[in-house]
């Protein structure tokens, strides 16, 4: 386990000009530590602050100098306290000297491990590199950097610098900035170092690799240009989705006294024969069957092994072709990277020559790959050049992506846009669109590209780890709102919008959008199910979520209605920010929008109250049952909302009131409709995991009472 152990020293600039971005620095470092606590528990981390008023480090004690640098924590195995330390790092008062900090960090690593330790050693520097560095005692700063770089190479220490610039750092002395940038660049030439410049809070959060995954090759062998020329390559994953952590299912069955309880749940699969459901068929008696039309063809694994397609492990070149023949949307998977085998100079040169020639001629290579011996299929893919910039130590490489086979394509036909005369934009409209596309620019020249994938963190993961930390301290903590900097990923940048307000207004003026009123609610559109693999799952999950929110009642009428109204409510949620009361036209959507408002808990009460009076209003205004359907819709939404917001009593009381109301006003037909739709009180079972015990008893009381007085035919299920 310790094989990939990493020792990391964080060098954080806390000087005055950094104060603005320190919240993000705290966040990204905390996330790094939180991930380490889960995935790399044995890694060791130290924290050094520079730009502080105080001075506290070993070097200053030993040799003097190195002022305004504080070792906040010496190198230790990661633990929870470390995360707490980063909750609020002390703000400094003087401009920091990053070169001194690097030396202090390096000194810590060398003292702790000495030259014998072969583990990974990494320095992470976050600074704005704007303050003038002190002059060395002898030689130039460049000499000093060279000496440090050499030392780092010898000790196999990596250096990662994140330099905060642009509007995040404010004004700066250009000369100092250029000098510092040159020094940092010198590092990248002389040793294993990398410098990233970030200009927005969002990319600062994405600049640091928060989880280090040891790269593993998926193929080592020859890239066969022909039988006469084989280039030795290693293939790695270049992109691979970092998944949401797989959570374990929790069992509360273990007694509270059992300290060693794992609380885990084992999932067990049993196979039973259809004719005789009592007997379990043992694994050796099972055989795989493949569908072939309506038949299922049984095939034993041995037989299958004997006849199946068995390609040889190899990567063969089929040829080169113009890059324009491979459109970008044909890429089927995540990306691999072909690197010449390290240490083979000629192979590195060969790959470099191929990559550069491909780039020059605008060509790509088509290859046929079988990564492993015994792999069940082949892939056809495309190699595109990835040429390193000048002076970088990175070797040239090739990116690989899988291309589709004939069977993977569905060639649907679509009408040509030219053949849609009624939909042609006018010149004015086209100009407005051109303007929008031009002005709503995320990659303005001479500035940092916004939302560059390489610097954009996953907001969901960020929120998960943050929530995990909050929950560790308080199990009842609420899900935290999204960080402001992360909102820029999911919402348009307000600044960009206000800069281009006239362009957007013009666009809005030019085009007219209106709801299609003639559209008949076809049964097809509801039924249309996703056919894609991923989204199918997604839809299924969506459906499940919907289901869990619903009662366990057998009557499906209510369920169907819920799923029907889903799309429309999703649309309405867009405008949720402005919904303040329940209107006549879209009561359900308004209600949901109000519930989803998180700025004040009053909205829930207001929403429920509003909905209740809206339903009564609907019933009162109803002529021969004309509003009944709408009222039921509202009632269903109210019920769902009350289950979600843990207000079952509100709903149950109201439903009972509604029944009395119906009887008193001779609205028996509505009462029957409710019965027909399977409307029930919110039962204990629905709310069971949300309530403390006293509430539980309250709930069941209500249910019992309901059983006697309310909807005689439908008894709420009480466990």
């Amino acid at each position: 386990m310790a094989r990939n152990k990493e020792s990391l020293v964080l060098l954080l600039d806390v000087g005055p000009k950094m104060h603005g971005v320190l919240p993000q620095v705290e966040k990204v470092c905390a996330m790094l530590l939180e991930k380490k606590l889960i995935y790399n528990k044995y890694d060791e981390v130290g924290i050094v602050l520079f730009g502080t008023a105080e001075t506290n480090n070993e070097l200053t004690k030993e040799v003097g100098g190195y002022e305004n640098i504080v070792v906040l924590r010496s190198i230790k195995v990661v633990d929870g306290d470390l995360v707490d330390v980063l909750d609020q790092i002390p703000r400094g008062t003087v401009p920091g000297d990053f070169l001194d900090a690097i030396i202090v960090g390096m000194d810590m690593l060398i003292k702790k491990y000495g030259p014998t330790n072969k583990g990974k050693k990494r320095l992470c520097l976050i600074t704005n590199a704007l303050s003038r560095l002190r002059d060395p005692y002898e030689g130039t700063k460049e000499d000093q950097v060279s000496t440090i770089a050499q030392q780092m190479t010898e000790q196999a220490i990596k250096l990662e610098c994140v330099v905060v610039r642009g509007k995040l750092s404010g004004d700066a002395d250009k000369n100092v900035m250029d000098e510092n940038d040159k020094l940092l660049e010198l590092f990248t030439k002389k040793t294993w170092a990398k410098t990233l410049y970030v200009e927005s809070a969002t990319s600062l959060l994405g600049a640091l690799r928060t989880r280090s995954i040891a790269p593993v090759t998926i193929f080592r062998g020859d890239l066969e240009v022909s039988s006469a020329l084989k280039i030795k390559v290693w293939v790695y994953k270049k992109t691979s989705e970092e998944k949401f952590p797989t959570l374990k299912k929790y069992s509360d069955k273990a007694p509270a006294t059992d300290k060693f309880a794992t609380h885990e749940i084992k999932v067990d699969f049993e196979y039973r024969s259809i004719n005789d459901p009592e007997t379990v068929v043992p694994p050796e008696q099972r055989i795989k069957g493949y569908r072939y039309g309506p038949e299922v063809v049984p095939v034993s694994s041995d037989a299958w092994e004997a006849v199946k397609f068995k390609p040889e492990k190899s990567v063969k070149l089929l040829g080169f072709t113009d890059a324009k023949n491979i459109l970008r949307h044909y890429y089927m998977k995540d990306v691999n990277i072909f690197i010449a085998e390290p240490g083979k100079r000629e192979a590195v040169t060969a790959i470099s020559a191929l990559a550069r020639a491909m780039k020059e001629l605008n060509k790509v290579a088509i290859v046929r790959c079988v990564w492993r011996q015994g792999q069940s299929g082949v892939v056809i893919g495309v190699l595109t050049p990835n040429v390193s910039v000048k002076d970088s130590v990175k070797p040239d490489s090739l990116y690989f992506n899988v291309l589709p086979f004939m069977e993977d394509v569905r060639e649907f036909q679509f009408p040509s846009f030219k053949n849609l005369p009624t939909f042609q934009p006018t010149e004015e409209q086209q100009a407005a669109a051109d303007n929008l596309v031009m002005m709503l620019d995320l990659a303005p020249p001479a500035k940092e590209e916004n939302l560059k994938p390489d610097l954009t963190p996953n907001p969901v993961l960020e929120r998960f780890y943050h929530f995990l930390e909050l929950k560790a301290k308080d199990p009842d903590a609420a899900v935290p709102p999204l960080d402001e900097a992360l909102k820029k990923i999911s919402e348009p940048d307000a600044e960009l919008l206000s800069q281009n307000k006239s362009v957007i207004d013009e666009f809005r003026r030019c085009f007219e959008l209106k709801e299609n009123s003639t559209k008949k609610k076809s049964t097809r559109s509801v039924k249309e199910k996703p056919s894609g693999s991923d989204d199918e799952k997604e839809a299924a999950e969506d459906h499940n979520v919907g289901k869990t929110l619903m009662t366990t009642d057998d009557n499906t009428a209510v369920k169907a209605e819920i799923s029907d109204e889903k799309p429309s409510s999703a649309v309405a949620n867009n405008s949720s920010l402005i919904v303040e009361k329940i209107e006549n036209i879209t009561p359900v959507q308004d209600f949901e929008a109000m519930l989803s408002r998180r700025d004040s808990s009053d909205w829930i009460t207001k929403a429920i109250k509003g909905m209740r009076s809206k339903i009564l209003e609907l019933l009162e205004d109803s002529f021969k049952g004309s509003n009944y359907d709408k009222a039921v819709e509202c009632l269903v939404a109210l019920r769902k909302g009350c289950v979600l917001e843990q207000e079952p009593k509100q709903f149950n009381d109201y439903l009972q009131y509604l029944c009395r109301f119906c009887k008193d006003h001779g609205l028996n037909d509505f009462y029957e409709l409710l019965d027909l739709k399977g409307m029930t009180l919110i039962t204990k079972s629905e709310a069971v995991d949300r309530f403390t015990s006293n509430l539980l008893s309250l709930c069941s009381d209500v249910a019992d009472e309901a059983a006697r007085s309310f909807l005689v035919t439908k008894e709420p299920k009480v466990e």
Binding site: S251, D268, I274, K288, G293, E346, R356, K363, Q413, S490
Partner: protein, 600 residues
């Protein structure tokens, strides 16, 4: 599920090759279409050549239910109505090419004087076939192949009017029953297929809809195959998305999955004694107490020596980052979309005015601007389980002789986050072997020139994506068919994905490769050993030693006399290592493993 129907009509211009070709294409269609939902009923209505319909066809073929002249229904004997294609049907259909002209070739045309209207009859039979299943739960389609744009053109005026009227009525009736009729028109070299004679009315196409209908000028049979392949699947969108462009401006788009990896079908577990399917039961068992659990309400993650519990609501709340389906964030030049910005197959977007009128116009305007300015849109895709950033690339329509190759619209490409991008090229061990001066070899200009020459030599000029069938999949189907039909021989599948050895052996290519090799490797090219890690060297050494040591024992003798237990564990491991068996476990386990391996 799928059904074929041939009816009389004038196809003589295309002749027999056409019909047999349709058959073979249809045959290949079956396998793929079988993966689709079982809730689809299709009748392929094929216009067949105009000779006498021979009623004395072989017994296994069945005449249509109503025994109507001029219509021939091909199916497996003994099966009624619509069946899903079985292995046997596919096989037999495969052979139809030979028997077709002899036996089936319906030989009625619609000739003047005759009251026989085979198109009418075909529609009637097709509709009868599609009676099965409710339109509420299943898709019903008729695919009509014909090259005759004016089926009643040769008749006199009165009969023509009459027949047109009755046929149209028949088509309308079918459509009213929820059956959609699709036409696959075939043009002939000297004449385009004219929709306006008859079929526009029959399919109910007017105005824009008629323009939208792509009159495919199919002249070559190969093109017809392509056309047919496009119609195999009902064009089915799987979602509609709303793209919010600015506050108050949201347009609607339909999403289609044009590219998804096709994999061999799911496996079903069977009881090997009865070959009956097994029912899978999943149960949750508490690891601490062994109690059977219902679905777990909470999940947890171990963190800081605690178990942090999450409810399902909390998890979905964490994942709910955005409430909008697609939210436009801005535009970037196409050069910002790098080759490594990809995670999974793209999704195709096409505008729809179904809910919001005006969507299509805005879409077309943006599409044009993006194409002209060479920019793509960045949007946030707020799915409830997998929210992520996407790039929307405008794709212009591409039409070749094959028909529409690239439909116009936008492709949604799923972008990675920084957490998903790795930098293995920066991995330190790539540099460990490098000299202290830390220079990475780069190709010289000369090397690059030689590589360029090589590239021009080995140029795939007309390379088209998806031109290769997947050999693994083809083999899979072939094996299944052979097993299902209990054939002894498994057909060999040609692997089209292998490099063109012949082309590579051309002197020009060989020379270019040799020159490149000489330039880069000098004259000391040898394939050489790869660098082997310390660990694998050690492993190899141990294995070699084990083989040597193992040879010193007479294992058979030891096993026969039960003396294995007298050996030490390291000694036993020699045998195991030498035979590449696992070396873990207690001594008894090792001995039994050795015995099993020796089959004793």
């Amino acid at each position: 599920m799928v059904y074929n129907l041939f009816f009389g009509g004038e196809v003589s211009r295309l002749g027999e090759k056409y019909v047999s070709d349709v058959s073979s294409v249809l045959c290949s269609v079956y396998l793929i279409s079988d993966r689709e939902s079982s809730k689809e009923y299709v009748v392929y209505v094929v216009d067949a050549s105009p000779k006498m319909f021979d009623t004395s066809c072989p017994a296994r073929e069945k005449k249509n239910l109503q025994d109507i002249n001029g219509v021939f229904v091909f199916t497996v004997a003994g099966e009624d109505g619509l069946g899903r294609p079985t292995a046997r049907l596919i096989k037999e259909f495969d052979q139809i090419e030979e028997s077709f002209m002899k036996n089936i070739g319906s030989q009625y045309g619609i000739v003047s004087g005759s009251r026989e209207n085979s198109l009418y009859n075909a529609l009637w039979v097709a509709q009868a076939l599609l009676r099965k299943g409710s339109t509420k739960t299943a898709e019903k389609r008729m695919l009509l192949f014909t090259n005759e744009d004016d089926p009643f053109g040769t008749l006199n005026r009165v009969t023509k009017l009459d027949m047109t009227r009755t046929t149209l009525q028949r088509a309308k009736d079918a459509q009213d029953l929820g059956i959609s009729i699709e036409l696959l028109p075939l043009s002939t070299p000297d004449r385009d297929f004219n929709m306006s004679f008859f079929y526009a009315v029959m399919l109910g196409l007017e105005g824009d809809a008629l323009a939208e209908f792509i009159p495919s000028s199919i002249e070559r049979l190969q093109d017809m195959k392509d056309q047919l392949r496009k119609r195999i699947f009902k064009k089915r969108r799987y979602r509609t998305y709303t793209l919010s462009i600015a506050s108050g401006v949201s347009i609607q788009m339909s999403a289609y999955a044009l590219l998804r990896p096709t994999v061999p079908g799911n496996i079903t577990w069977l009881d090997s004694t009865t070959n009956l399917p097994l029912k899978t039961e999943r149960s949750l068992i508490c690891a601490d107490t062994g109690a059977l659990m219902q679905e777990a309400p909470k999940q947890f993650q171990a963190y800081r020596d605690q178990e942090i519990k999450f409810s399902r609501e909390e998890i979905s709340q964490i994942k709910r980052v955005s409430l909008t389906q697609l939210c436009l964030l801005g535009f970037k030049p196409l050069s910002c979309l790098k080759d490594h910005h990809n995670l999974k197959p793209s999704t195709f977007l096409f505008p729809t005015d179904e809910d919001t009128i005006g969507s299509t116009k805005i879409f077309i305007a943006l599409h044009r601007s993006m194409l002209r300015l060479r920019r793509f849109a960045v949007a946030y895709f707020g799915s409830s389980t997998h929210p992520q950033l996407v790039a929307l690339i405008a794709q212009d329509e591409v039409i070749t002789a094959r028909g529409q190759v690239e439909p116009p619209g936008m492709h949604m490409i799923y972008l990675p986050y920084c957490d998903d991008i790795r930098n293995p090229e920066e991995a330190r061990n790539n540099f460990l072997h490098m000299d202290v001066t830390f220079t990475t070899p780069r190709a010289l200009n000369e090397d690059i020139q030689k590589a360029a020459v090589l590239m021009n030599r080995v140029n795939l000029k007309d390379f088209a994506v998806c031109q290769f069938p997947n050999p693994a999949l083809q083999k899979h189907y072939a094996v299944l068919q052979a097993l299902a039909l209990e054939e002894d021989e498994i057909p060999e599948i040609k692997d089209d994905t292998l490099p063109d050895e012949e082309g590579m052996a051309r002197p020009g290519v060989v020379n270019a490769i040799e020159e490149f090799k000489l330039s880069v490797y000098g004259d000391k090219y040898d394939e050489g050993e790869s660098i082997v890690s310390e660990a694998s060297k050690k492993r190899k050494a141990i294995a070699e030693k084990a083989v040597q040591e193992s040879a010193n024992y007479d294992w058979d003798d030891l096993a026969d006399n039960g003396k294995l237990k007298d050996l030490t564990v390291p000694e036993l491991r020699f045998y195991l290592t030498a035979h590449k068996l696992p070396v873990t476990g207690k001594k008894e386990a090792l001995i039994s493993r050795i015995l099993t391996h020796m089959k004793k």
